[in-house]
């Protein structure tokens, strides 16, 4: 078999989380009673007219900035004409030749070592969503739920820059993280707020030209996207290996069966008869607004990830956990600002014990009493040898529930680390005396009991024993036996 390379381009449709729909004042919300968020306008009743929700333009421009696009301050909307029962006007208002944003890119991280790849973003345009066909056992035909009609969408079209399903997944994850970070889409996959169409072609490795591409529709999850790309790649290679050629066509992905099937060939491609939407004015966004929206962007997740990895030397795993939780990230940055400890020590606590306790209590960070100052002071106590790491685990529990200085807690509870050899020697002797069989086992080669013996010593010291010293004394004592 020849060596093949796959070429993937993605069209991501994201529903925007504006309060109201794109062309009328109906509520934009998922899960309402069937046909309850509708009015004559989004139902396309005769004589009704659309008026543009300007928030949609703002949201799309924000996304455009985040993806380094040129913003077309002057652009238009067009009608895409086709018949389907979920499309009440029989045309979708979209943008054809002049999208709101174009010529952008997204840098995605391909692995944990931080290998980067730039994926081109061809364009971002605004459009309206269609309704949904509903099938009900009590009714032989199809029913239509128009609630989703007029829900604002942006379509983000990538360049054919991805060369594997993993790259596609990294791109999709990146897009999703940005949409969430900008708070322009809630990105709930199960509610269909992000969907994608995937273009796949396969060529011999080293080839500079693109082969015919196949467009796959109906991909509703990112994991489905990976499966769909892998399936289609395999299918195309099989066709080519058998001496066949791939024709440009549209296929429908069936995620349950894990296969795709022909939807329409190029010859039967729909002619959407795009033309400028005469009911709406040219969109003109003032320069100042474009700039203000740019200034309003928060730090983007992929930038933050890189910063954490580069500036704080955090491993990808820690950095990524922080990026995924803005509250913890902010807490982390506050700790860094206080300074005095290694960033990794901070994430060890924040993503370790603190996160575990939050999970147990089903809290978010702000529901606890923990402050960056207290965490940093506690870490300082450990690093200076004042308390042991084990004691820290006790202190952190208190800090989560009470805003009290760690030094005060240590004082009150008598948790100061014991580094007095004579005190610790007595403890070691007692533990060994009570565990003679284990000591014999240890000496006989069962080294795995070591941890248990150390634990017993720590316990006997009520967690206050200096662990390094305890280990040293324990080792010596066993050697003497």
């Amino acid at each position: 078999m020849k060596d093949y390379e796959i070429v993937v381009g993605l069209e991501v449709h994201a529903e925007l989380s504006t309060n109201t729909k794109i062309y009328c004042s109906c509520k934009n919300s998922f899960g309402s009673e069937v046909n309850s968020n509708c009015c004559p306008i989004c139902l396309g009743m005769p004589g009704t007219l659309p008026t543009l929700n300007e928030k949609v333009v703002d949201y799309a421009i924000k996304m455009g900035h985040a993806l380094n696009c040129t913003i077309n301050r002057v652009c238009k909307q067009d009608r895409k004409n086709y018949f389907y029962p979920d499309l009440p006007k029989a045309y979708q208002i979209s943008q054809s030749d002049i999208p709101l944003c174009e010529h952008g890119y997204l840098d995605v991280m391909l692995d944990r070592q931080g290998t980067m790849k730039r994926i081109g973003v061809t364009r971002i345009h605004i459009e309206e969503d269609a309704g949904k066909l509903v099938h009900d056992d009590s009714f032989a035909g199809s029913l239509v739920d128009f609630n989703r009609c007029g829900v604002p969408l942006i379509e983000i079209v990538s360049e054919p820059d991805m060369r594997s399903s993993a790259e596609a997944k990294a791109y999709l994850d990146g897009i999703k993280a940005i949409l969430q970070c900008l708070d322009v889409s809630d990105c709930k996959m199960q509610e269909g707020s992000i969907r994608c169409d995937i273009n796949v072609s396969v060529r011999e490795k080293g080839s500079e030209t693109f082969n015919n591409r196949v467009e796959m529709k109906n991909v509703n999850t990112f994991s489905g996207a990976v499966r769909a790309i892998e399936y289609e790649t395999k299918r195309q290679i099989e066709v080519m290996e058998a001496g066949g050629t791939i024709s440009q066509e549209t296929r429908r992905w069936d995620d349950v069966k894990g296969v795709n099937s022909l939807l329409r060939s190029k010859e039967n491609a729909e002619d959407y008869r795009y033309f400028p939407e005469p009911d709406l004015l040219t969109i003109v966004v003032p320069e100042e607004k474009v700039e203000a929206l740019k200034q309003s962007l928060p730090e983007l997740p992929h930038h933050r990830l890189l910063r954490y990895m580069n500036d704080y030397r955090l491993p990808h795993f820690d950095a990524n956990l922080l990026v995924e939780n803005l509250e913890k990230a902010a807490f982390f940055e506050d700790c860094i600002a206080i300074g005095g400890s290694q960033p990794k020590s901070i994430t060890n606590w924040l993503l370790g014990d603190v996160s575990r306790i939050l999970n147990e209590k089903n809290w978010v960070l702000s529901q606890s009493e923990l402050t960056p100052e207290n965490l940093m002071e506690m870490i300082a106590l450990i690093e200076s040898g004042k308390i042991s790491n084990t004691t820290g685990k006790t202190v952190i529990k208190v800090l989560m529930e009470e805003n009290k200085k760690p030094s005060v807690i240590v004082e009150e509870k008598g948790l100061v680390q014991v580094s007095d050899s004579s005190v610790l020697e007595a403890i070691v002797d007692e533990v060994l005396a009570n565990n003679l069989k284990l000591v014999a086992d240890y000496k006989g080669g069962k080294t795995n009991v070591w941890g248990f013996l150390v634990g017993q010593c720590m316990r006997a010291s009520k967690g206050k024993g200096n662990p390094a010293l305890l280990r040293e004394l324990l080792e010596k004592a066993i050697a003497k036996l």
Binding site: P46, G47, P85, P88, P278
Partner: protein, 486 residues
């Protein structure tokens, strides 16, 4: 004189002076309809009971000393493509034969706020496509001046109802001449306002970039009154213009001294009937005698504008009318095996020939491979036409032309020859193409006694000038001809 012969302005005055009641006015309108609509066939739906209730309400308000608008209690007929909440709105099509809108057009809401009386809904060419009202699915409307002739179209029902004295006021819609041409054929006054001055919300769209709702009446003053009531920016219509409008009835008296009237030579050429040409030029002379100046101008793209018009309007119509698919409202074919068949049969059976012709034409000019050759060129020609008009207004304040090349033709005369029918729009479509206001004003009759109309065309938002000029003319000739005997 009977109440039905009076103008809306006069009826309003009488009402305020308690010379008659709103109920009497409404009853006069319905009794006239009962008397003559069997011959004229202007109305598709009558709203008699609700109208009488509304009139009684107006009388009560007046009795209680409320100050009401000049349109309070005035009977108005509405073209059947303007949505009226709870009252059938069919567009004279089988497709919408049973459609009752759950909302009212903005213009209807405005008139309701002024306590007008909705008399009923008026016949038209199906979906406003036609120039004779013969493409209506329901009935053929006759010209009150000669019942064997068409009233013009597409607002033929509106024009005929006003001309026959059934209502003093009506609303029509004008995409390529559909207010002005029937007004001309029926000897009444009709205004196609500047694009963007009247909200299109609730007007069932034919060609969105050209459609405007317009007032029709037997006097200029009434047209000014109704226009003032319906114009204005509407947040529901993104294409409606943001500006303040004056009270158009207040500035009618200004005369025409110093007014520069342009005569575009392309509008007086071959194909324009000599009776029509002579009548219009004579009216211009009369205005000249009042102090207006006449200048010759040229609008060289005029011969091409008709093609541009049919390309653009059909393209938009093919998209606007796609929603009539049998899924949600209106007609649905009784038998179908699948979705494709539901669409095909519903649309084949629900639309008439003229509508289907335009949908096919529009679909063709927008289809890939033909878009640049047709639609795009049509839009370029539109721009050129608008530029020529704008340039001509450097030399004059308004243009005067005939509204149509001929007077009303016989029912059935042109219906089987679409091209001939389309050609009759040549003098009116340019105004829509350029988004300008156009006013159709009666200016005499041809040898057969049929009304002739002159068209006043001005720059955008020059309605005040057009109305003042027309009013001057109306006064000069001692008023327009009375309602014909039926």
């Amino acid at each position: 004189m009977e109440l039905y012969t009076k103008s809306a302005t006069e009826l309003g005055r009488m009402l305020r002076n308690r010379e008659c009641s709103a109920v009497e006015i409404t009853k006069a309108s319905f009794s006239r309809i009962a008397g003559v609509d069997g011959k004229v066939q202007a109305f598709l739906t009558l709203n008699e009971q609700a109208a009488l209730e509304k009139a009684a309400e107006v009388d009560q308000k007046l009795a209680a000393g409320e100050i009401l608008s000049p349109l309070a209690g005035i009977p108005v007929g509405i073209k059947d493509n303007i949505c009226t909440k709870g009252v059938k709105t069919t567009c004279a099509s089988k497709m919408l034969h049973n459609f009752v809108p759950p909302y009212s057009a903005t213009v209807i809401q405005k008139l309701e706020n002024l306590d007008y009386t909705l008399v009923g809904k008026l016949n038209m060419d199906e979906f406003a496509m036609g120039s004779s009202t013969e493409t209506s699915y329901f009935q053929k409307t006759a010209n009150p001046h000669d019942l064997t002739r068409v009233p013009g179209g597409s607002s033929g029902g509106s024009a005929a109802a006003v001309a026959a004295g059934e209502v003093p006021l009506a609303l029509g819609s004008d995409t390529g001449g559909s207010v002005r041409q029937p007004a001309s054929h029926c000897g009444i006054v009709g205004l196609k306002p500047t694009y963007g001055s009247v909200s299109r919300y609730g007007l069932v769209a034919f060609a969105s970039s050209l459609d405007q709702i317009g007032p029709m009446a037997r006097t200029v003053e009434d047209v000014a009154l109704l226009y003032g009531a319906i114009c204005g920016q509407d947040v529901m219509d993104a294409t409606s213009a943001s500006r303040e409008y004056p009270d158009f009835t207040k500035s009618l008296d200004g005369g025409v001294k110093g007014l520069r009237i342009g005569l575009p030579k392309e509008y007086y050429g071959e194909g324009v009937n000599s009776d029509v040409r002579d009548a219009v030029l004579q009216a211009v002379k009369a205005l000249e005698a009042q102090g207006a100046q006449v200048v010759d101008v040229s609008l060289p793209s005029t011969p091409y504008a008709l093609s541009a018009y049919y390309i653009i309007s059909s393209a938009e119509a093919s998209s606007n009318l796609a929603r009539f698919d049998g899924v949600k409202y209106g007609y649905r074919t009784p038998e179908y095996k699948n979705l494709e068949e539901l669409y095909e049969r519903t649309r084949s059976e629900g639309f008439g020939d003229e509508v289907k012709r335009r949908i096919m034409l529009g679909t063709f000019v927008l289809s890939s491979g033909y878009y640049n050759a047709y639609y795009k060129r049509g839009k370029l020609l539109q721009q050129k036409t608008a530029e020529e008009f704008a340039a001509s207004f450097n030399d004059c304040d308004l243009l005067v032309t005939p509204v149509t090349p001929t007077t009303a033709f016989k029912i059935g005369e042109n219906i089987s020859d679409p091209l001939k029918m389309y050609a009759s729009d040549i003098l009116s479509v340019t105004v829509n193409i350029a988004g300008l206001p156009g006013l159709s004003v009666p200016c005499g009759k041809d040898q057969g006694g049929l009304p002739i109309g002159m068209q006043l065309i001005g720059p955008k938002f020059s309605e005040e000038t057009l109305l003042r000029t027309a009013y001057t003319y109306e006064k000069l000739i001692g008023g327009f001809d009375p309602i014909p005997t039926l």
